[in-house]
Subunit: 394 residues, 2 copies
């Protein structure tokens, strides 16, 4: 992948800075994006004003970095006498001196750094005479919002794994018996925990992992951040929201479906139909040049017209449509752009969720979510999973 | 849990600072430790000079934080007009002003911060007149090295799940047929990938997750950082290293076993026996007051006496015992203290791995690893898993 670093280079030029420095571990998607590399322990990525990408890694990671990274050069810390510097000056000062030597080696006297750059490193470099300026707008996150075709393919692959996991969950629910109002399989009540575990196992089989997943029934589903627990009940709305990450590429997928096993209430069915209509309206609105705010408005229009509250009609609403319409997905599960009141113009290559929902503890929650990529003339849906309230076994 | 924050309070007193501030997300174990809380997005933890712990969280996390955190107070960002500040000043400046208002509310004019504290926040607070000083020694990491009995129990629980996963892996290997030198089950070659997947599934069933696991056969096992891939072979050393994390508590376990299915070479068997002897010598050496360096020396003595190289006998050795004897385990998989040339005095409550190994691409790798807690008069082994070269089905 060749990320377009021009907006970052413009920041360096505007600030008369020699380079952009990242110092972080595998929790930092910006660094992974810029370097094409990730490692569990901290390493450093330098982007020079001519667009060169240079890595500083431990000896342990050196071999892998030279093979895997999208970098013009990879240096190991030992090339700058890291061990001797730590022995003489301690871990903190030794590390700072090693990074300073790496920067000097590349002719760097001044750097821009991201907001989350370690203050310890920043202050240490400043003490050694370097200029360190915080880049405040999140320029790399902005670049990451627009996916290359390769990136869109990775996200699509994770979403395919996600579909396999959703199919496992739907089948589990569809094949239950109903006994005393509870869903029962093989003589045992089917729980949220059991469905989540089977989702996770299905994802593992497809090379994906997740920290959390949502299988929330009845009132649990009315709180968009409740992960759900306990027995699944007949006739109640069950919200299933899965957001796995491919273990190799690091790209996420994201999808939500809502099911009822048994007979839903009339009100639940109506909310499902309105959510589906809002979902279709949001998709209909997506094309380059349209703002995320406009897509969100199109979604709110449908839900408000049907008589439900939104955060647009009442900013303090506790029921109705109480979140935004969507968010960017990539190396982070939540990234730019957003389909929300503050969402800016959509561009080809943006990958966003579309996920309207209607919530009320008295009725439960409904949410329908697909993942789409904005194209030159509209969007392509990266999700191929049926949307239906009644779960089926296949 | 009541962490002993006295060493941190001493840092504040020495520096005449009003408080210690952490600003990070769930990748930061120090913050999780101090606050008893974790959240996917950034939140702030303030420790005041009197030992008070005060959190600043989003509205989304407020309810959970008030229930779960070990904090004297929890504030939500909206209490400091976060949304209005962001609307007026943008995300960066609005966030800094919110944190500054939170600090002012607690009467804080000067803070110590960890090395990895975001430079964006540090510089922003400094522009608003606050003193921000980097705490360079990692005092919270030092406190975390000594586990409370509750923490040792959590680590022990994760290690029990780890044992269940190791049993699945051992059984898989033990129940293979040998065909043309390959391990075969149900007519299919047993691969590293398959064993890893079954390990992960077993851990999921016990509420644990892992990012990586090692099942490395033959030459793969001779590189301590190779995760392993492809068909497992008969008569070859197979290194299995599992380091899961409990999804609820966040505490890690860590264990390694080495197996051979079929007949090992004489040399492989000898290396196994020497590694076992070194493992026993290391355990024998562990007690309060002994340094991690001395434990490492005891391990090296055995391995060198048997005629193999170590990094002590040759710092550039590429074969033999080419890593340290052990590391601390807790909310991070690698933390203080270390059983290595720089390892300081062991204290009751330290939890460390003991994991000698001998490596050579010509022979393969051997590693044996248990996890122990240092007690008043020695150690308690948190691992109850047999150590044997020949895998068994039960």
């Amino acid at each position: 992948m060749e990320p377009d670093l021009d907006p970052l280079l413009a920041v360096l030029e505007d600030g008369s800075l020699d380079g952009y420095l990242i110092d972080d571990d595998d929790s930092d998607s910006d660094q992974r994006y810029v370097s094409g590399f990730t490692a569990p322990d901290a390493y450093q990525t330098l982007v020079t004003a001519d667009g060169g990408v240079h890595l500083l890694v431990s000896g342990l990671e050196y071999g892998r970095a030279t093979k895997e990274a999208d970098a013009d050069s990879v240096s190991r810390r030992s090339a700058y006498d890291y061990q001797a510097l730590v022995a003489e000056h301690g871990s903190y000062e030794g590390t700072v001196r090693t990074i300073a030597a790496f920067l000097a080696d590349h002719g760097i006297d001044s750097v821009a750094v991201p907001r989350n750059f370690p203050t310890g490193t920043a202050d240490g470099l400043r003490e050694r005479g370097l200029e360190v300026a915080v880049e405040r707008e999140g320029v790399v996150e902005g670049i990451r919002a627009t996916k290359t075709p390769w990136e869109a393919n990775q996200i699509s692959a994770t979403q395919s794994a996600n579909e396999a996991a959703m199919a496992v969950a739907e089948r589990l629910i569809a094949t239950t018996e109903i006994e005393d109002g509870a869903l029962v399989r093989d003589g045992e009540e089917l729980t949220s925990e059991r469905v989540k575990r089977e989702i996770e196992i299905a994802l593992l089989r497809h090379g994906c992992a997740l920290d959390e997943t949502i299988v929330a029934c009845g009132p649990d589903g009315a709180d968009p951040h409740n992960r759900g627990s306990g027995t699944l009940e007949a006739g109640e709305l069950i919200v299933i929201d899965i957001f796995p990450r491919d273990k190799g590429t690091g790209y996420f997928g994201d999808m939500t479906r809502t099911f009822v096993r048994g007979e839903p209430s009339e009100e639940a069915r109506q909310r499902y139909d309105v959510t589906r209509e809002a979902f279709d309206a949001a998709l209909e609105a997506i094309e380059p040049g349209v703002t995320g705010a406009a897509v969100h408005d199109a979604t709110c229009d449908v839900i408000e017209d049907a008589g439900y509250e939104t955060l647009r009609s009442d900013p303090s609403a506790g029921t109705g449509f109480i979140h935004s319409t969507g968010h960017g997905v990539g190396l982070d599960i939540h990234e730019q752009p957003s389909l929300s009141p503050t969402g800016g113009e959509l561009e080809p290559g943006h990958v966003v969720t579309v996920e309207p929902g209607i919530y009320d503890p008295q009725v439960g929650g409904v949410r329908i979510e697909d993942l789409v990529v904005v194209t030159e003339d509209g969007y392509e849906n990266l999700t191929e999973y049926p949307i239906r309230l009644e779960p089926r076994a296949n």
